[in-house]
Subunit: 380 residues, 2 copies
């Protein structure tokens, strides 16, 4: 085909590792297809030779058998194909091919030329610990719930949790801006309740409101939360768009840790053969997009993540990713006290224990139940 013009390319490339499902022949074709589909979107025979054919089209760097009908391939792309924005980077990694079954993104390997575009988590594990002044044990987070309670009732709960010494008291992710519990009233009341409790306990518990909203309102809600002394923010990037979270992380004025919630984007991880790996979605991608902690359902709770998948998330939160800080895995989803020992042995100290409904059991004395949980973790 016609020869393409010379492009001012740096020759720097980033690499994506994909797991492919099918026979060897099918998977070789899939790998080749990814190279074209994610870049030129042109039939191979129509693609110009020269710089486009040699550099813009993806390049298979490695192809190996994992097991029967499972193969893995490393495909590299010119850094220029991703422009300088997270949207287009993600589009090259998993745009059109998200529509094709049997392709799963395992991880990315990004050179400094791309990593320098992202400031990543502002706090990370260290910064989050410092904000809470808790250095030696797992952090403890609980959620204000259930949906339907008034701002006043939730503030009452927040007070009891803070008196009991819970570190992070977050909105349940279903608390948005409903008529029975408006966002602004809730933020004001719950922040105040936690502040008052801190004065009694001498601790640094924080309230983390849910600012998930249409993109144009996320910043507005974050500002309101900051102004009203919230200590962190909860956001569901699957609903707001990833860049709403990234913008907050980059905005110097806010200075609040961000916790990402996994709602709506679960379909990326429910198939073992398609979508995104736990490592990539909850680790690498959330760090690129600025989360300081990533919430996900721990194995054995009321969701279906396996133990291995949870371990992969921990690695994704901690593995080297240029200058981007390590972040907290925050496993939750139906956790109970009798599972604590197991969680500690699996996660060590550097995680956020997310425990909700369980604290409402045992007589329903939230403050006392919280205090006992904190003690258990301090002794562990």
């Amino acid at each position: 085909m016609e020869h393409s013009p010379r492009l001012a390319l740096s020759n720097k490339r980033f690499t994506v590792t994909y797991t492919l499902t099918g026979t060897k022949q099918e998977c070789l074709l899939k790998a080749r297809d990814i190279c074209y589909e994610q870049t030129v979107e042109f039939p191979e025979d129509l693609t110009p030779t020269g710089d486009i054919g040699n550099h813009i089209v993806g390049r298979i760097e490695d192809f190996r058998e994992l097991s029967q009908k499972r193969f893995q391939t490393d495909i590299s792309f010119a850094v220029e194909s991703a422009g300088a924005e997270l949207t287009q980077l993600l589009n090259v990694i998993f745009g059109n091919i998200s529509l094709k079954p049997g392709i799963k993104v395992e991880k990315v390997n990004l050179p400094a030329e791309i990593l320098c575009l992202f400031t990543g988590p502002k706090f990370g594990q260290r910064g989050f610990r410092k904000a809470l002044r808790v250095y030696k044990r797992p952090l403890i987070c609980t959620a204000l719930k259930p949906m339907g309670l008034s701002a006043q009732d939730l503030a009452g709960q927040a007070s009891l949790f803070a008196l009991g010494g819970i570190d992070i008291i977050k909105d349940d992710h279903g608390l948005a801006d409903q008529p029975f519990c408006p966002f602004e009233e809730r933020v004001q009341r719950c922040s105040e309740a936690v502040r008052n409790a801190n004065q009694k306990t001498g601790k640094s518990s924080i309230y983390a409101p849910n600012i998930t909203a249409p993109a144009n309102r996320v910043l507005e809600r974050a500002r309101f939360a900051k102004k009203n002394a919230a200590g962190a923010l909860l956001i569901t990037p699957g609903l707001t768009g990833l860049n709403s979270m990234r913008l907050l992380a980059q905005e110097q004025v806010f200075g609040l840790p961000l916790m990402s919630h996994p709602a709506f984007w679960g379909s990326f991880v429910t198939s073992p053969h398609s979508g995104l790996s736990h490592y990539f979605l909850y680790g690498q991608l959330m760090r690129l997009a600025g989360a300081d902690a990533v919430i996900y359902p721990h194995s054995g709770g009321r969701f279906s993540f396996s133990r291995e998948e949870c371990t992969d998330i921990v690695r994704g939160c901690n593995d080297n990713l240029g200058n981007l800080k390590a972040i907290f895995p925050a496993p939750g989803g139906g956790m109970t006290r009798d599972r604590l020992h197991d969680m500690l042995s699996m996660y060590g100290r550097d995680f956020i224990l997310l425990i909700g409904g369980e604290l409402h059991r045992y007589g329903g004395n939230l403050s006392e139940n919280s205090r006992r949980l904190v003690e258990m973790l301090e002794k562990a």
Copy 2:
């Protein structure tokens, strides 16, 4: 459990139809789980009675067997649980349960109280036709490609397509703001090329640039495109967040038809058992979010949608949805001329034929190839 306070609820509810996979017993449990997981996120025994238990918790309105190990259920939710925002509406429809396999959203039934929150598509099928002055045949759309060409080269292509009478000349969805083809230069050159061609042909071809970008830049790019006489906009809501598209549709100043691209969110539709139905994702949801046309891969091309799934999309684009306009299905993805007859018999006249690489074949005379295609459709 304790009795919850009385909430000022309207008693209006919206309904979601889910398909569930498993034994009858498993699916009954899943249905019940959805009621709690999507609202109070509380164990059933801890959920307060009264208004929360009776109205906030989802309600199983119907449960029926579809086939062996496939069941369907209609679950209703209080309109107030969705607040007044698309983010929270989507969160109630498919938030946490997106993380659980074997649950698929088939469709939603929204009352006027929710539909009135969304202006939906600004143009719809009629408005889009009017903008193009094409009333009796399918609209024809092609894409500027491949990635790697300069703005000048793409403008040359745009000119040839417009001279050949193609209605909509869109950016390939991988054209973002790369150094070898900056967004602003591309928009200026391609718009001008199409305008000049229109002066020669007397037709109303339009250029539709890709404005997919981080949320804070989408509006900026849309403004630039409008100012530079673009005729429509291409956006990938999976990458920008749905609300970026919705905002554009609601902004009165823009007045440009919006075409949504399916990249990145493919994982919602690759499993027959989990995720979102084609009807809901490409029909109902895209209309709520303001798309005037929805791009997707037609069956039998280089993607894997079935014929039935494509028909479901057409229904989703056209079925009654309050006052929200009907929108264009825009099937593409490796379409060839010899499939035209079949597509016409399946889609009738009211669709946008998306045809890319194929026009570059047959000697590569883009203008002549385009003209022949338009003629074929006018005679059909």
